[in-house]
């Protein structure tokens, strides 16, 4: 084995470049500011107006929007570091964070790489290699195949030996990309092919590994820190079992159901593994834990994790980024395992707010965030931490990850942290693109979650409950939207501004407005009366309202009072035809029906359309071919995922507009089916 003793020579870091974007860049800059280190942001064309670019001391454009041409271009990033005089590069997570060649190139350029050595990245970053290393270190692993023979035949043979259920995944991967579960060997070939394609496109490495699939598994990971002097400690576990599409959305520390002895063994194993390769810097050893407490090594993430704040939440005064920088400077660890045990206290939870459609297979969404707001009631609380690079008006670009923000709470007990998280999520308004906020709220409210009784299939198993439509507040949301709209129009009125709204001397019908919410349409009628009262009718929502008082309108904040005296506070954010309403902890997007038909609207053509902006990766249909409903006609790549665009009904593919490699807008007609 190649020796990997990192240089213990102290490296000075005066200026640090973050080879990343979004919230993690902002988070790293914050620690730099605390440590007196100047900061440099690099950005793609898509991020030129982004917050993380503005908060950096210096910024440099490195290329077009696609990450392959910007955030994955190590050469441009190193060039930017040289041009700006940065002496260190922090890769954040994702992009080049686990790319050994990049780490090498950084070092070769005479810069400090904030992370483990290229050797450690190689040994641990590739799942196949890592598993071999783990076995060598005596850490339990899931039975599987990590063979170098990547032929379909070899993989198929191995799979037959291991038996179903199986998991096929990209050796270089992470974050669920290039991952397939196989429960029937007949599906195997398709799974291998598509996993390989995704692996190649996401990581530039098509190598696959196979392993036994553990039923009812929990995902528990151990945070480790090693210094350049051979010390390694673990910072306890994070429970990350709440996942969709193999990606975590809720994480917490400590794990609610981990026997103390299991936890201790996992921590010790993680340290053992790290020591076996002389791991220096922050890393995470991921395990799958079976219901009986048996655990198996999964992989090592040789970088900072998205969910690192929950570890910071339970270890007083810990700043993992600061420790990373200190380690990279060659400083020894500032604490040993015993000291960490003493500092450990309380409970912390993180929720990832993502732009996605939970009801539509968590399809990632992109677009402009019209409103990003945290109610003042919780905004300044010391138990709440919000990591985001979003501001109202910013966009979620189609090219990168769909995470908008991380909400982190902590408390004395897990129950405290949950209660606080529920408050925080209720006080959060994210409007403009569809998000998973309501899903997160439902997860936090679920009794099984409260009891700590869950595994990585929690979301699939409880989908029906978690994704239930909250129809009850629709009527109130529509009333809020209507009366907020009325207030806006009235205050903008220059003609007879003090004359009551909608006055009729001969008592006509009420003023009406219709809103669509998904497939439902609600019509609100109102007549203004003195004193802020409105006589209100609601149709299409199975409710009738008599008299509603508009207590106050202050910007987006609207307070209504029903005839029973109950008050409702709503946040109402109009954006052209859409009105976003946050009411009673639910978010609704109402689309006001136009009063007049749009004469310029193109008449709808039948066919399949791009579900979102993205790049066409494969066209599977030829013009003139007969297609069946549900048949995949086009594959497209968007938000780093592959999406199948299917035929809406049986018919003939009259015109194929999709071209491989072409970037298309969401809603673009790809194939006309007649």
């Amino acid at each position: 084995m190649q020796t990997n003793a990192p240089t213990a020579a102290p490296a000075a870091i005066h200026k640090l470049l973050v080879a990343n974007r979004g919230e993690i860049a902002v988070r790293i800059f914050r620690t730099c500011a605390k440590m007196g280190i100047a900061t440099v942001a690099v950005f793609s064309d898509a991020d030129e107006d982004a917050l993380f670019v503005r908060v950096a001391d210096e910024a440099m454009r490195i290329g077009p929007a696609p990450s392959r041409e910007s955030y994955l271009r190590g050469d441009k990033i190193i060039e930017a570091a040289k041009r700006t005089g940065a002496d260190a590069i922090h890769p954040g997570f994702g992009f080049l964070a686990e790319n050994a060649e990049f780490a090498e190139a950084v070092a070769a350029a005479g810069l400090v790489f904030i992370g483990p050595s290229p050797h450690a990245i190689r040994a641990m970053g590739l799942k196949r290699e890592a598993k071999i290393t783990a076995v060598a270190a005596g850490v339990p692993v899931v039975p599987g195949y990590t063979g170098e023979d990547q032929s379909n035949e070899a993989i198929t043979k191995a799979c037959a030996e291991i038996g179903v259920p199986l998991l096929i995944k990209a050796s270089a991967g992470g974050g669920g990309k290039g991952m397939r579960i196989v429960r029937d060997l007949a599906e195997l070939e398709d799974a291998i092919e598509s996993a390989r394609r995704e692996a190649e496109s996401a990581f530039g490495n098509a190598t696959l590994i196979v392993e036994r699939y553990v039923e009812r598994p929990r995902h528990v990971e151990i945070q480790i820190l090693g210094d350049a002097h051979g010390s390694v400690v673990h910072l306890f576990e994070r429970e990350c079992s709440i996942q969709r599409r193999h990606q975590k959305i809720v994480e917490e520390a400590p794990s609610p159901r981990l026997a103390p002895d299991v936890r201790a063994r996992m921590g010790a194993d993680a340290v053992k593994l790290a020591k076996s390769i002389g791991y220096a810097n922050a890393g995470t050893v991921e395990f799958v834990v079976a219901p009986d407490g048996a655990y198996f090594f999964l992989e090592v993430n040789t970088r900072l994790q998205v969910e690192h704040p929950v570890t910071e939440g339970v270890i007083a005064g810990l700043d993992l980024v600061e420790e990373q920088i200190r380690i990279a400077r060659g400083e020894p660890l500032r604490f040993d395992q015993a000291a960490l045990e003493k500092r450990l206290s309380g409970s912390s939870i993180e929720c990832r707010v993502c732009a996605e459609s939970p009801r539509d297979g968590y399809l990632p969404q992109s677009g402009r965030i019209v409103d990003f707001h945290v109610d003042a009631a919780v905004a300044g609380e010391d138990w709440l931490r919000i990591e985001t690079a979003m501001e109202s008006g910013d966009s979620v670009p189609v090219h990168y990850d769909s995470m908008i923000a991380k909400i982190i709470t902590r408390g004395e007990t897990r129950t405290d942290a949950i209660v606080r998280m529920r408050r925080a999520l209720a006080a959060l308004s994210v409007h403009g693109v569809e998000t998973n906020v309501e899903l997160l709220q439902a997860v936090l409210a679920h009794p099984d979650f409260a009891a700590g009784d869950f595994d990585t299939h929690f979301l699939e198993r409880n989908a029906e409950v978690l994704l239930a439509d909250a129809g009850a507040s629709l009527a109130w949301a529509a009333i809020a939207a209507a009366l907020h709209g009325e207030a806006q129009r009235s205050s903008a009125r220059t003609l007879t501004p003090s004359v009551p709204s909608g006055f009729r001397n001969s008592r006509y019908a009420p003023e009406r407005c219709s809103f669509a919410c998904g497939e439902r349409v609600v019509e609100v009628g109102y007549v203004a009366e003195p004193g802020g009262f409105f006589r209100v009718t609601v149709t299409g929502a199975d409710m009738f309202f008599d008299r509603v008082r508009r207590v106050s309108v202050l910007g987006a904040k609207l307070v209504l009072e029903g005839s029973d005296g109950k008050r409702f506070a709503a946040r109402v954010v109009p954006d052209a035809a859409r009105t976003f309403v946050r009411i009673g902890g639910r978010s609704l997007t109402l689309v006001e029906q136009p009063r007049f038909p749009d004469r310029n609207a193109e008449s709808a053509v039948d066919g399949c359309v791009a579900p979102m902006p993205g790049k066409i990766s494969k066209v599977l249909v030829e013009e003139g071919a007969a297609v069946k409903a549900g048949e995949t006609l086009v594959l497209m790549e968007a938000m780093k995922m592959e999406h199948a665009v299917k035929a809406p009904h049986d018919g003939i593919a009259k015109e194929v507009r999709a071209r491989v490699g072409e970037q298309v807008d969401g809603g673009a007609l790809l194939v006309i089916v007649e």
Partner: protein
């Protein structure tokens, strides 16, 4: 600001008094009657014809108006009860008309009531149409006509043909005065009716619905033997593509309305009168009290200051000459930010009152202040003393001032409106910009009882001259008849049916209606006059 310096009026009304309760109960009963009548007028041709209209995929006339005007904006309907209880007429006289805000512009809007006899024009349609036209001309408003009319109600052509002609002249005269005329054709507009679009500045026709021609297929066949269809002769497509009678082809009704709004938007219309002040103080007393204040029996006087306190900004009022001719209350106030000079009756007009009124009207003209007349007037004082002091000269002076005043004026009849008092206080013939009434008001040359009494004296005198005995039974029947007739004819519903006013309003809406009327009457420049007829001193 001027308003804030005006003193706040004090109210002395006993809100729990017997009179207050009685007035309130009776006024509410009158309002219920009004609501019922308005309901009837809103129903247009009734359920059957409305259903037929809707089944044809058309919008009801009032729906067209509602879609045309801006969201949350007001619509001040004019003469909604024209033709009420008059044989051969529907309440509303087959036209929906009023002032509404379209694309931010106050416009005169008229819509054919297509569910009543196919929107055919009756005698009162012509009278109401004339009033709406006058209103548009007087206030300088752009006008939008929503046409779907079978034309003249032929069995009654004698009452319509000659006076009805002015409609077309009015259109071009208003155009000449640079107030745009817009015509949206939703259905039939034929023969003479074809000149409605023909004379308008802008014409929109609805595809497959509009029919505009001088003579229909049967008449053409009779005249020339040519065989054609309605669509060929006068369809929207033909007029939009071939004849050019139509400027815009609308896909459907909503599209036509949208186009109408678009046309108004491009006018880049600017009002010539000054805007209201930005800050408006609401009155300190509730408008609800007006129902208990306004006498349901016009013989019982009420203090106009109580009314003023409930309609002016901040209940503020700067009274002019309070000690002189106190039966005519004069003074300055603001309503919805517009300055106004108010003349209000607190009793019979005496010589001093008339002199004071004439001077006050001159002062309003001097400083370009619009005038508000609050009528509750049984007439000028009569008697030897008053004739000697020249009450005719004083009255003439006031009528001279009212007649020649050029600032906007608005009249509200809130009690009696009898005799020359009606004239001196800007009755209908004196062309106020708007004239509305309360449901308790009475209008006639004099009260029924007075007229019967006068008749009684004249009859007895005549009998004495002829040396005949008075037939007491006959005289009593005659007196009863005349009293009954006058009372019926002075009823506000009788009056409003004949378009003697612009409508009966709920007293509680007075301030709002005045705010709108003032705004509308500031479309033209507000400029007082200094030239008057010869005052007889």
């Amino acid at each position: 600001m001027a308003t804030a310096s005006y003193p706040v009026l004090r109210s002395r009304v006993d809100l729990r008094g017997e009179l207050f309760e009685k007035n309130r109960a009776e006024n509410l009963a009158a309002l219920e009657k009004l609501d019922k009548a308005l309901q009837k007028s809103r129903e247009g041709g009734g359920e059957k014809y409305n259903a037929r209209h809707l089944a044809a995929g058309k919008l009801l006339p009032r729906e067209r108006v509602e879609k045309l005007i801006d969201r949350d904006s007001w619509f001040l309907e004019v003469a909604p009860l024209a033709g009420l209880n008059i044989s051969g007429h529907a309440p509303g006289a087959s036209i929906v008309g009023g002032v509404g805000v379209v694309s931010g512009v106050e416009c005169m809007i008229t819509a054919s009531e297509a569910t009543v006899k196919g929107g055919a024009m009756s005698e009162y349609s012509v009278i109401k149409g004339g009033r709406l036209s006058d209103l548009a001309e007087h206030n300088g408003l752009p006008s939008i006509s929503l046409i779907e009319s079978a034309g003249a109600d032929l069995p009654n052509q004698s009452k319509i043909f000659v006076p009805g002609g002015r409609g077309f002249r009015d259109l071009t005269r208003r155009s000449e005065a640079r107030t745009p005329t817009i015509c949206l054709v939703f259905g039939s507009s034929t023969a003479g009716g074809a000149y409605m679009p023909g004379m308008s500045d802008y014409v929109v026709m609805v595809k497959k619905q509009a029919q505009v021609y001088l003579g229909g297929p049967p008449l053409v066949k009779m005249a020339t033997g040519e065989e054609t269809t309605h669509e060929e002769l006068g369809g929207a497509e033909m007029h939009s593509r071939v004849s050019g009678v139509s400027d815009y082809l609308a896909e459907d009704e909503l599209d036509a309305i949208r186009l109408g709004r678009e046309i108004v938007a491009h006018l880049d219309w600017k009002k010539a009168g000054p805007p209201p002040s930005r800050v408006v103080e609401e009155p300190k007393f509730s408008s609800e009290d007006l129902l208990g204040i306004a006498s349901s029996d016009v013989r019982i006087p009420f203090d106009m200051r109580e009314v003023i306190a409930r309609i002016t900004d901040g209940s503020r009022f700067s009274e002019f000459k309070p000690l002189y001719g106190p039966e005519l209350v004069c003074g300055w106030a603001n309503i919805h930010g517009y300055p106004v000079g108010i003349l209000a009756n607190n009793g019979i007009l005496f010589t001093a009152c008339a002199n004071k009124g004439a001077q006050f009207i001159e002062l309003c003209n001097q400083s370009d202040v619009p005038i508000l007349y609050l009528q509750n007037i049984v007439g000028f004082m009569v008697g030897k003393k008053y004739e000697e002091e020249g009450i005719i000269k004083a009255g003439a002076k006031m009528i001279n001032a009212v007649s020649n005043s050029t600032v906007p004026s608005i009249t509200i009849m809130m009690g009696a409106s009898y005799g020359a008092g009606n004239y001196a206080m800007a009755g209908r013939a004196y062309r106020p910009n708007f004239l509305f009434t309360w449901p308790n008001h009475r209008i006639a040359v004099m009260g029924g009882k007075q007229l019967a009494g006068v008749l009684d004296i004249i009859q007895r005198d005549a009998a004495v001259k002829k040396g005949e005995a008075v037939d007491e039974t006959k005289l009593s029947v005659m007196k009863q008849m005349i009293e009954g007739q006058v009372d019926a004819e002075s009823d506000p519903f009788f009056a409003t049916a004949r378009v003697w006013d612009d409508g009966i309003i709920d007293p509680r809406d007075t301030r709002t209606v005045l705010g709108i009327a003032l705004s509308v009457s500031h479309t033209k420049p507000v400029r007082g006059t200094t030239s008057w007829g010869v005052f007889r001193h």
